[in-house]
Amino acid sequence: MIRVLLKEYLRFDDLVSCSVPKLYAYASENPVSNADPLGLATLVMVGGPSGLNVLGHDAIAFSGLGVYSYGTTEQFGSSTTAYLTKQASYRDTTAYLLNTTPEQEQAMANYLNHNYLNTKYHAATHNCATAVNGALMSTGIGTDLALSIIQDGGVPFFQLPGTSSFIALTGPNVQIIQIPKGGQLPAFVQGFDPR
């Protein structure tokens, strides 16, 4: 287990140093004024630790389709603004903006509706992180990373909250936005509310 996790962290370092995604503090820059004029985006939200929940919470939203947060009080396809407002009241969130196509976004929403409704929650194997990572991988995002880990003799370990960061960082034209605890939401979040 430790070896696998270590391998992932090494991969994470490689990704950060090689792909150099732009890091935005939304208060000083607004990346999304350029990012999603046509509704072509996916937002992966990785919430940090809070209290006893040392692992955090992962969720995903799609332009015009709303938020998909497995295991929280928000129904699938509900307001991303409301979700992030609540999250920001008690934790920091790192958001990864991926320039996906409408077809990818719909496919990921379909994946979640098909695989994460009428199924049993399991803290270790069927949780918020597997939902987000599975959705991304269902459209090919992150599959190269998983395959490279396997080819290197490792085991992809994407069941923990927070690991969605690794997958999201392999997405198309990823931008990173920090949403601090207690902070205001960037205006672009409204684009991820249901139409």
Binding site: P49, N53, G71, T73, Q75, N113, T119
Partner: protein
């Protein structure tokens, strides 16, 4: 006891299985557009009774409430959290004649009921 923690991050660990089942129920009934409330017995975790109440919202037409979340860290399990409740006071009396309704939940229902 962690299960009664007021910390939201801690609560979400203990609440996840409750909410995932509520998400399924909400999704399954979303397109049915029921005009009246519906009571589902032992529908969440094979234990908890849940009621669906017309919300007045077109996209999410029902608001769902666990009626007696005994022993759980959250007092009121409601989906969506800000969902409307269109319910008669008589239906609350009917619910209480059929199942256990927690006092916090009853208070919420009565604050929204009409004749």
């Amino acid at each position: 006891m962690a299960g009664h923690s007021t910390n939201p991050g801690a609560r979400e660990i203990f609440d996840a299985s409750m909410y995932t089942e509520m998400q399924t129920i909400e999704s399954n009934y979303r397109s049915k557009h029921l005009a009246d409330p519906i009571l589902l017995r032992h529908a969440v975790n094979n234990e908890f009774d849940i009621v669906g109440i017309p919300s007045g919202d077109e996209r999410f037409p029902m608001t769902w409430l666990i009626l007696d979340p005994h022993g759980k860290p959250t007092k009121i399990y409601k989906m969506p959290p800000d969902g409307g409740l269109t319910i008669s006071c008589g239906f609350i009396d009917y619910l209480k004649s059929q199942v256990t309704v927690d006092s916090n939940v009853e208070r919420l229902l009565r604050s929204n009921c009409g004749k």
